[in-house]
Subunit: 689 residues, 2 copies
C-alpha cells in the first residue's frame, strides 16, 4: 500500500555515496585478490553460475523466512532440498555444483547426511556385494539414508555406546536393541523425518560358539538398516524414531532420535569390508585396519578450515560495510561544531573488533590451502597407505579444527556486537549465521576435547627429540631437535619481531616449542596425571596451531614466484602482521616465558596493532569486496554491496513483516488478541502449548 | 500413544542418584546461603508466592513454545501480558510482585515499556497538570504508552536525532515530522503493535518570534503523542508505525518503527516540567536541570547488575547440574578397565569454564548489593540534590554496567558450549536465555562506548590528585593521592597475593591506579587525541570495575558482624579467591607492570586456580542450589533439580514435538511435502516467502 514513506530517502551522506568513496580511495586489486583466494575448484565461476539459477527461483527467496516456525522451516527445507536436487538433474550439476547450491541456499539440507556420511560409509565400509546392491538405490534416492551413531548418553566416547546388535545364530539375524532411554540414538541428522534407511552403529555381540549363551563384545560396528516403510514412510514395527525438536540453529534439519525394540536385521546388514561374522561358525574376523580414514579425515579437516574462512569473510563483509555506512558522533577533540559524524569504523574500539577478524580470514585461508595441497600432492602415497608426509599434519589438524572453528564462531558474535543495535536486528544477516555455525565448535570433535590429540602428539615428538635416537621421524620432531640443540629457551635472545616478518614466525615457533617442552617435563619427567594437565594441553595445542597459521600465511606471501602483484603483496603483508601481532598480544606472557619476544617489544604491541589497523582501514571495503560474498548469501541489510542499509531495513519492517498485517486488541481486560476476532486466537494459542 | 519406550529408564548411575550423592557430600548450608543472597525485597518468599500462581496457568506452560513462529510469539506474549495484569488485579500484586511474575514468565512483555519508560517519563518530565491528566488513564491502561527516542540512523548520539517538532505560532501546534527514512523511530519497544500513545523525542524548533521564519533549534525534547485510534487501534493519519520484524531474541516484544508526516500535536503535548515554549511569545525557557536522573540512573545500573547475577546463576545452575549428570570417558591414567565414566565436571577443562562463572555470580551480587545500599542510604541527600557520596559510584557505574553485562552475556554461551551436543539442543534452557540476554551489552549504553565515561572520570580524578590542591573531592581521588604519595609504581614491591586476601584486593587497586595513571600521562601530559586512546580507556575502565568487584566481595565476606556462619564464610572465601585469581590470570601482564604481583606468583596462578576449583568441585551442586532458581524458570532438561535429564530430553522429543505428528514425503521427484497432501503444502510455503 503506497504511503508517505515511499518517497523518503536517507539523510546524506547515504550508504551508496559512502561506499563509493571507500572504494575509490583504495588500490586493492579486487579481481586479482578474488582469484588469488577463490580459484580452487573454480569456486568463483561456479558461484556465479549456480547463483544465477537460484536467484530466479521464488522458493529460495530468504527475505521473510525468519517469520516461519521451526516446523515450517523443516517443510521449507525439504521443499528446497527437493528443488535443488531437481535443478541438479536439469542442469547436470556435479557434486561440487550441488555443494555450491546448498552453500548459497544457506539452509542445511534434510538430505545432507544422505549425501555425506551415509554414502561415504557404504562406500568405505561396505564390501563389493553390498556396494553393488546399495549404490544404485542410493544414487536414485529411493534409499534415503542417515547415520546413527551418537546416543542420548554418549557422544564423544564412542566405545561407551549402549545400542547393541546381538547375533542370533539360530535365525541368522542380528537383533538390534536399545536397553535404556540413554541408549536412544540422538542428534542424527536426516533421521527424524526424512530417511528411510540408517547406518546404525551398535555394539556387536556374538556368541562364543553357535550354541553358547556367552557373548563376546566386539565393540561398535556399522549396520545398514531400513527404518521406515518405503510406501507409507511410517517407522517399521519395533522402531521408535522421530525429530528431537527445536535447537539453536539448523532449523530445516531433522536431527533425530531412534530406539530399537529387539529389531531383527539380516546378516547382510552388517557392513563387511573390514570385519565380518561368519554366519555358520560365529567366528568374528577383522583385518588389520587399513587407515584409509586417516587420509580422508585430513581432507575433511582442511575443508572445515576452508569453510571457516568463508564464514569469517561473510561476517566481516557485513561488519566492514556497515561500520563504514554507520556514522555516529563527531570527533570529541574536533573544534568544528558542524563537522560530519565519523564512520564508526574510524573508531579504534570498532577497528579492534572488526579488522583482526578480516586478517584472520586470510590466515585461515592459507592454512586450509596448505593442508589441501599437501593432501592432494601426496594422494598417491596415501592411497598406498604411506602417511609419512601427512602424519604430522593429520595430528595437527585436530588442534587446527579446534582453533579455527572457535575463531570463526566467535567472530560472528564479535562482529554482531560491534554493529550496535542493528546487530541485534533481523536485517543484520548474523542471526541464522550465528545459530547455525555455533554447532561447529562441538561437532566433528568437541573443540576442547580434541586438543588432547594434538597435545599428545606434540609431547610424543618432544620426548623422541629429547631421547634423540636415530633420525627425526617427522618435521615436527626435527624442529624440536633443532630447538633443543640451540639450547631451548636458555640460550636464545628475544627476536626482533618489529624488524622482520621472519622473526615473527620464529617467535611463534619458539613459543610453541617451549610450551610443548614444559608440558613434556610435566607429563614425562614429573609424571603428572593426564587429566590434571588438560588445560595446559589445550594451550600447547593452540600455541602450535597459531604457529602453523602464522607460518603458512608468511610462506604464502613470500613464496617465489608468487604470481601476486607487489601492490597486493604489500596489503597481504600488513594483514599478516596484524594477525600475528593481535594473536601475540592476547597471550603475551607466553612469548616472554619462551624468550621469544622481549617485554619492551610486547609493551609496544598495542600501538603497533593500532598502526596496522590504521593502515588497513582505508582498504577495508575493497578487501572484503574481494571475498565476493554475494548479497543473496549475505541476506543482510547492513552488509549489502550497494550500501542501501536503511532503505533495506525499512523495507523489511514496513513492507515484508507479516505481523504488521494484523491489528491487535491491546486492552488487558479483554481476552481478545486480534481485534474483532473474539477469543478464538487465545484458544488457538493454548492449543499449541 | 503408548509404545515400548514408555518403560525404558536411563542406564545407571542415573541423574537423581548422581545429584543425591553430590548433595550428600557437601556441607554448604543451602538455606542460609539462599537467604544471604536473596532476602532483599523478600525475593525468595515473593518468588515462591508468585510461582504458585503461574504454575497453575496453562498459558504459562513453556514446554512447546520453541515451536512457535515469531508472529505467534507476539500473540502469545500479548496474551500472557494481559493475563499477568489480570492476575495482578486478582491477587493484589504490587509492582515488585508484577516484576517477579514477568521474570518467572520469562517472556519480555509487550507492555514492558508502558510500565517502565513511559510512566517514568510522564512522572519525571510532565508538569503537575500533565501528570494529573495522564496518570489515571495510564494506570487504567486505557492509555498504553511507549518511548520513541532511538532512530534508524541514530542511537547512541541522541543529539543527532532527525525527527523534528516545529512550533507553529499560528495554529499553536507543534508539527512532528520525519524528513528522511533514517529519521524513522526504530527499536522502540511496545510501539510496533501494542501502544496507542508514545513519548516522542524530537528536535524542538521554535521561530525566533511569532512572525519569524528563522527557527532556533533547542535540541531533543519529549512530547506525548497519541499514535493509534482508541477504538480501531489503527495508526492515525500522518503516522506510519509498525513492528520492525524478527530479531535475535525478544520475540514477544513489538519493537517498532514510526515516522511522522507533518503530524500536528497540541501545545500540551510537550512535557513541560523542565522546559517549555510560551505559546504566545515563542519564548523558550529551561530551568537549570536538577540532576534527579543522576541518582535514579545509579539505581537502574545497580538493578542491571543484580539482574546479571541472576542470569549467571541461572546459566551456571544448568551447567553444574548437567556436567555432574553427564559422564563421559574413564580416567585415561586409570588401570581399571571397568571403572565408571567420570562426571564431565571432574575434568579441569570443564571446571575452568563453569566454576569461575559460579564465582563471578557471587562477585556481581556483592557489588550490586553495595550499590543499592549506598543509594538507599543516601537517598535523602540525593533527593536534595547532594550527590557527594554517590558521585564516584555513579561515574563508576558505566564501567560496571559494561563489564557485568559482558560477563553475564558471555557466561551463557560459555556454559552452553561446555555442555557438548546437548547444549545446542532445545532442552538446554540456554537458547532463549542467550537470545534475549544478548541485547544487554548493547542497550542502556553500548558496552564499549560507555567505558569512556568511567575512563574520563578516572583521568579527571587522577589529574586532580596529581595537582594535589586542597582536599580530595571524593574517595577515588583520595585513593589516587595515596597511591601517588607512596611513590606510585616505583616504590612498591609486589604484594603477597597467596598469603592474604587483603593483598589480593590491594593488588587490584594498585593495578587500577597504575593503569589510570598511564592513561592520564597519555591524555593530559602527552596530549594524545581522545579517539586514539579508546582501546586503552576501555581497559582502565575494566581495571577499575574489576577492582570494585573484588573489593566489595572481600568486604562483604570479612565484615563484622556478618551474620554468616563460619562454614559458609569459608566457601565464600574460596569463591572470592577463584574469582580474583581467574580475573588476574586473564590480564596478568597488567599486574606485573603495576608492580602489584610478581612474575613468579603469576606463573603459579594456573595451578592455584586449579586447586581452588578442586576445592569447590564437591560443593558445586549445593552452591547452585542455593540460588534457588526454580525449574519453571530454568525450562531446561539439562538443569532440572531432580536430575532427570535424559527422561526430560526424550519426553520433549518423543511426546511434545509437533513435527513428529506429520509424515512427510521425502522423495525428491515429487512436489508433495506432506505425505498424501498433494502439492498444497508447497503452495502454502511459497505464499509465506
Amino acid at each position: 500500500m503506497p504511503d508517505f514513506t515511499d518517497n523518503l530517502k536517507p539523510s546524506k551522506p547515504d550508504g551508496p555515496e559512502i561506499l563509493a568513496k571507500e572504494r575509490a580511495q583504495s588500490d586493492v586489486p579486487i579481481d586479482e585478490l578474488a582469484s588469488h583466494l577463490l580459484s580452487r575448484n573454480d569456486f568463483l565461476t561456479r558461484q556465479e553460475r549456480v547463483l544465477r539459477v537460484l536467484e530466479k527461483e521464488p522458493l529460495f527467496n530468504k527475505s521473510k523466512q525468519q517469520n516461519l516456525s521451526r516446523p515450517e522451516r523443516y517443510h521449507l527445507g525439504l521443499a528446497r532440498a527437493k528443488k535443488l536436487r531437481r535443478l541438479a538433474d536439469t542442469h547436470g550439476w556435479d557434486a561440487e555444483d550441488q555443494s555450491m547450491s546448498s552453500y548459497l541456499c544457506d539452509d542445511v539440507s534434510p538430505y545432507m547426511v544422505h549425501y555425506a556420511m551415509f554414502i561415504t560409509t557404504i562406500r568405505e565400509q561396505g564390501d563389493e556385494q553390498q556396494k553393488a546392491y546399495w549404490m544404485p538405490k542410493i544414487d536414485a534416492m529411493d534409499v534415503i539414508g542417515c547415520y546413527a551413531q551418537t546416543e542420548l548418553g554418549h557422544g564423544s566416547n564412542v566405545k561407551g555406546l549402549e545400542c547393541e546388535a546381538r547375533w542370533d545364530p539360530k535365525t541368522k539375524e542380528f537383533v538390534l536393541h536399545s536397553p535404556y532411554i540413554s541408549s536412544s540414538k540422538w542428534w542424527n541428522g536426516t533421521m527424524g523425518r526424512t530417511a528411510n534407511h540408517a547406518i546404525v552403529v551398535a555394539q556387536l555381540k556374538v556368541p562364543k560358539s553357535p550354541g553358547s549363551t556367552d557373548y563376546v563384545d566386539h565393540g561398535p560396528h556399522p549396520f545398514v538398516v531400513q527404518i521406515r516403510d518405503l510406501k507409507t514412510h511410517k517407522p517399521l514395527d519395533g522402531i521408535a524414531v522421530g525429530d528431537i525438536g527445536p535447537k539453536y540453529g539448523y532449523a530445516p534439519m531433522d536431527n533425530g532420535y531412534m530406539l530399537f525394540d529387539h529389531f531383527r536385521i539380516p546378516h547382510s546388514a552388517m557392513l563387511s569390508n573390514y570385519s565380518r561374522v561368519d554366519p555358520n561358525t560365529c567366528t568374528y574376523s577383522r583385518p588389520a585396519n587399513p587407515a584409509v580414514v586417516y587420509g580422508s579425515l585430513t581432507a575433511v579437516r582442511a575443508s572445515i578450515i576452508m569453510h571457516a574462512r568463508l564464514i569469517m569473510a561473510r561476517a566481516v563483509t557485513i561488519g566492514v560495510r556497515y561500520t563504514c555506512v554507520r556514522r555516529q558522533f563527531q570527533d570529541r577533540d574536533s573544534k568544528d561544531r558542524g563537522a560530519p559524524e565519523l564512520s564508526v569504523l574510524d573508531y579504534p574500539t570498532v577497528q579492534i573488533r572488526i579488522l583482526p577478524i578480516l586478517a584472520t580470514a586470510f590466515a585461515l585461508h592459507y592454512t586450509g590451502e596448505a593442508m589441501q595441497k599437501l593432501y592432494e600432492g601426496t594422494r598417491a602415497q596415501i592411497d598406498k597407505g604411506d602417511f609419512s608426509k601427512l602424519a604430522v599434519l593429520h595430528a595437527q589438524s585436530s588442534g587446527l579444527k579446534s582453533l579455527c572453528t572457535e575463531l570463526a564462531a566467535n567472530s560472528i558474535e564479535t562482529c554482531r556486537r560491534a554493529m550496535g543495535g542493528h546487530g541485534f536486528g533481523g536485517g543484520s544477516g548474523y542471526i541464522q549465521l550465528n545459530n547455525d555455525y555455533l554447532s561447529k565448535p562441538t561437532v566433528e570433535g568437541d573443540n576442547w576435547m580434541i586438543t588432547q590429540q594434538t597435545a599428545s602428539y606434540l609431547i610424543k615428538r618432544m620426548s623422541a627429540a629429547v631421547s634423540g635416537k636415530g633420525q627425526a621421524e617427522d618435521e615436527l620432531e626435527a624442529a624440536c631437535r633443532d630447538w633443543l640443540k640451540n639450547g631451548g629457551r636458555s640460550s636464545s635472545s628475544p627476536l626482533p619481531v618489529f624488524d622482520s616478518d621472519e622473526a615473527i614466525v620464529q617467535a611463534f615457533h619458539r613459543r610453541s616449542r617451549y610450551s610443548t617442552y614444559q608440558a613434556y617435563i610435566e607429563r614425562e619427567v614429573k609424571k603428572r596425571s593426564w587429566n590434571s594437565m588438560q588445560i595446559q594441553l589445550r594451550k600447547i595445542s593452540h600455541a602450535e596451531s597459531q604457529s602453523i597459521l602464522v607460518t603458512n600465511f608468511f610462506e604464502a606471501i613470500t613464496a617465489e614466484p608468487s604470481g601476486i602483484s607487489s601492490v597486493l603483496r604489500a596489503h597481504l603483508a600488513t594483514l599478516f602482521r596484524l594477525f600475528a601481532f593481535y594473536t601475540m598480544d592476547a597471550e603475551a606472557r607466553d612469548f616472554v616465558k619462551a624468550n621469544a619476544v622481549s617485554n619492551a617489544d610486547l609493551d609496544q604491541l598495542p600501538a603497533k596493532i593500532q598502526d596496522l589497523m590504521a593502515q588497513i582501514r582505508p582498504h577495508a571495503v575493497r578487501l572484503v569486496d574481494s571475498w565476493k560474498v554475494p548479497d543473496f548469501l549475505l541476506d543482510s541489510a547492513l552488509g549489502r554491496y550497494d550500501g542501501k542499509v536503511y532503505e533495506d531495513l525499512f523495507n523489511r519492517a514496513h513492507r515484508l513483516n507479516p505481523l504488521n498485517e494484523i491489528t491487535f486488541n491491546p486492552y488487558y481486560k479483554s481476552d481478545e488478541i486480534v481485534m474483532g476476532s473474539g477469543s478464538d486466537e487465545l484458544k488457538k494459542i493454548l492449543a499449541k502449548l
